[in-house]
C-alpha cells in the first residue's frame, strides 16, 4: 500500500465519520427518546478498532477524541487519550480474544460506553454533583440507547472497510 493509498483510505474513514458526527450532534438531539440521546462517536471508534486492529484503532481513536474535544462543548482533554487507549485495547481484544465481527464489536462498544459513563459517574461522585442513583439513571439509558444505534455505525464502517480497509488498495 503506497502513501497515497494510505491517505486515501483514512480520508474515506474520515468522511464516513462526518455523517455519524452530524447525526450525533445535529439530528438525534432533536429526537430524544424519553429525554435520552445516544453517543455515536465512541461506536465509530470501536468499529474501526475492531475492523482495523490495535494500532490503526489507536490512531483513529486519537482522531475521534480530538474531534470530540474540539467540536463538542465541555471538553477537558481526557477524551483524546481515553479514546486512543480504548482503540488500542479494543483492537487487541478483537485480534486476539474476540473475533473481528459484529458480536465482538458490540462487546467492545458496550465496554467503551460503560467505561465512558463510568468515568463520568465517578467524576460526578468525586465532585458531589449528584448521588449515584441519579447518575446511573442518566448513564444506563444512554448506554442502552447508544447500543441500539451500533448496527448502523457498524454497517457504515464495515462498508468502508470492505472498500479500502486492511491492506487493500484504495
Amino acid at each position: 500500500m503506497t502513501r497515497r493509498d494510505l491517505f486515501h483510505k483514512w480520508l474515506i474513514y474520515a468522511l464516513a465519520l462526518v455523517p455519524v458526527w452530524l447525526m450525533d450532534a445535529q439530528i438525534l438531539p432533536r429526537l430524544p427518546l424519553f429525554g435520552v440521546t445516544p453517543m455515536l462517536l465512541p461506536l465509530a471508534a470501536a468499529a474501526v478498532a475492531v475492523l482495523e486492529g490495535a494500532y490503526a484503532g489507536t490512531g483513529f481513536g486519537l482522531a475521534v477524541g480530538l474531534w470530540w474535544e474540539a467540536a463538542y462543548p465541555g471538553g477537558f482533554g481526557g477524551l483524546v487519550f481515553g479514546l486512543a487507549l480504548a482503540g488500542l485495547i479494543m483492537g487487541h481484544l478483537s485480534q486476539y480474544v474476540l473475533r473481528q465481527s459484529f458480536p465482538g464489536y458490540l462487546l467492545c462498544a458496550a465496554g467503551l460506553l460503560c467505561a465512558l459513563d463510568g468515568l463520568r459517574v465517578a467524576r460526578g461522585l468525586l465532585t458531589h454533583a449528584a448521588d449515584l442513583g441519579a447518575m446511573l439513571r442518566v448513564a444506563a439509558p444512554e448506554v442502552l440507547w447508544s447500543l441500539v444505534w451500533s448496527p448502523l455505525v457498524w454497517l457504515l464502517f464495515r462498508a468502508v472497510y470492505r472498500r479500502v480497509g486492511g491492506t487493500r488498495l484504495a
Binding site: 439530528i27 474540539a70 467540536a71 486512543a84
Partner: protein
C-alpha cells in the same frame, strides 16, 4: 510510512496523552474562553452546523404542517384567546404601573432602572450529551458576547447562561443544566432559594429551586424569577413555574421542582444580555 500505524501504536498513545494534557491545561487556563483548537474547529464548522440546523428546522416545519395541522389550528385558537387575555392584562398592567409609580413617589423610594444591552443570536446546535443541557449560538466574542452573560427569549424568559465563547459562536448552559446555580425568588411569596439543575430532572426538562425557607408556602403555578442576588445576573428574569414542593432525602431542607418557561427544544432565536446596570 507503510507500517507507520502498526509499528508506532505506543507513540500514538503518547501523542494522545500529550494532546490530552495540552487541551486540559489550555482549557483550565482560558477559563470561559474556548481553547484555540475548539475555536478553529467550531469556526470552520459553523456554516455546516448552521446549514444542517436550517435544513432540520425546515423539515420540522414541514412535518408539523403536514402531520400536526389540526393541533396547530387548535393552538392558534388558544393563542388568540391568550392574546385577548394578555391585551386585557396589559391594560390592567398599565394602570398598575401608574399606581405603582405613585406609590414609589409616596414612599420616596429610589427608583431602580436596569439597562440591558442585547445581542440577538440564532441557535445552531442543541445539547448532544445527556450529562449537560447546552445550546450553541452563532454569536461569540466578535459580537462582544462573554462567558456569564444571560440569554433570554424575545419575551424576557431566561434560557440560560453563556458558558463558553469562541470567535463567532458561544455555548449556553440552559437553566436545566447541572452547572447552573443562581439565586431565584418566588414572585408571590418572595421566598428565595437557589436555582440549580439536577441529573434527576434534566431529562424531564425541569430544574430545582433549592434551600427554600422553612415557612415558604408555595403552590403549583407560582412564578419563579431570578433574584439578582450578588448582581452577577440580572434580577426579575422569568425562569418558570413551580410544579411541586418536596423535601430533600436528608429531610433537612425543601426544594421546589420548577418547569422552565422557555421552550428549550424549540428555540430558534434568542437574545444575549451583554450588559446590564443597576442604577440606585
Amino acid at each position: 510510512m507503510k507500517d507507520f500505524l502498526r509499528k508506532n501504536g505506543i507513540l500514538l498513545l503518547v501523542i494522545a496523552l500529550l494532546l490530552s494534557i495540552l487541551i486540559g491545561v489550555t482549557s483550565s487556563l482560558l477559563g470561559g474562553n474556548a481553547d484555540p483548537l475548539s475555536n478553529v474547529v467550531s469556526t470552520v464548522t459553523a456554516p455546516i452546523r448552521s446549514g444542517v440546523s436550517a435544513v432540520a428546522n425546515w423539515a420540522e416545519g414541514v412535518y408539523n404542517y403536514v402531520f400536526r395541522y389540526g393541533q396547530i389550528q387548535e393552538e392558534l385558537s388558544d393563542l388568540r384567546a391568550q392574546v385577548a387575555e394578555l391585551e386585557d392584562q396589559v391594560r390592567q398592567g398599565q394602570e398598575a404601573i401608574r399606581e405603582n409609580e405613585q406609590l414609589r413617589q409616596l414612599l420616596d423610594l429610589q427608583e431602580r432602572r436596569r439597562d440591558f444591552v442585547f445581542e440577538s443570536a440564532r441557535v445552531t446546535e442543541r445539547s448532544t450529551v445527556n450529562w449537560e443541557s447546552t445550546l450553541t449560538l452563532d454569536k461569540g466574542s466578535s459580537a462582544d458576547v462573554e462567558a456569564g452573560d444571560c440569554v433570554i427569549t424575545e419575551t424576557g424568559v431566561l434560557v440560560g447562561v453563556v458558558s463558553k465563547v469562541g470567535y463567532n459562536w458561544s455555548t449556553v448552559s440552559t437553566v436545566i443544566d447541572t452547572g447552573i446555580e443562581m439565586g431565584g425568588i418566588v414572585s408571590r411569596t418572595y421566598s428565595a432559594g437557589i436555582l440549580e439543575g439536577s441529573f434527576d430532572l434534566m431529562s424531564q426538562g425541569k430544574l430545582r429551586l433549592s434551600y427554600l425557607p422553612e415557612g415558604a408556602q408555595l403552590v403549583s403555578g407560582d412564578e419563579v424569577l431570578t433574584s439578582g442576588r450578588g448582581d452577577v445576573y440580572p434580577s426579575g428574569l422569568v425562569v418558570g413555574q413551580v410544579e411541586g414542593v418536596f423535601t430533600d432525602p436528608s429531610g433537612q431542607s425543601r426544594y421546589a421542582v420548577v418547569v422552565p418557561e422557555a421552550q428549550l427544544d424549540n428555540l430558534i432565536e434568542v437574545f444575549v444580555i451583554k450588559d446590564f446596570a443597576i442604577v440606585e
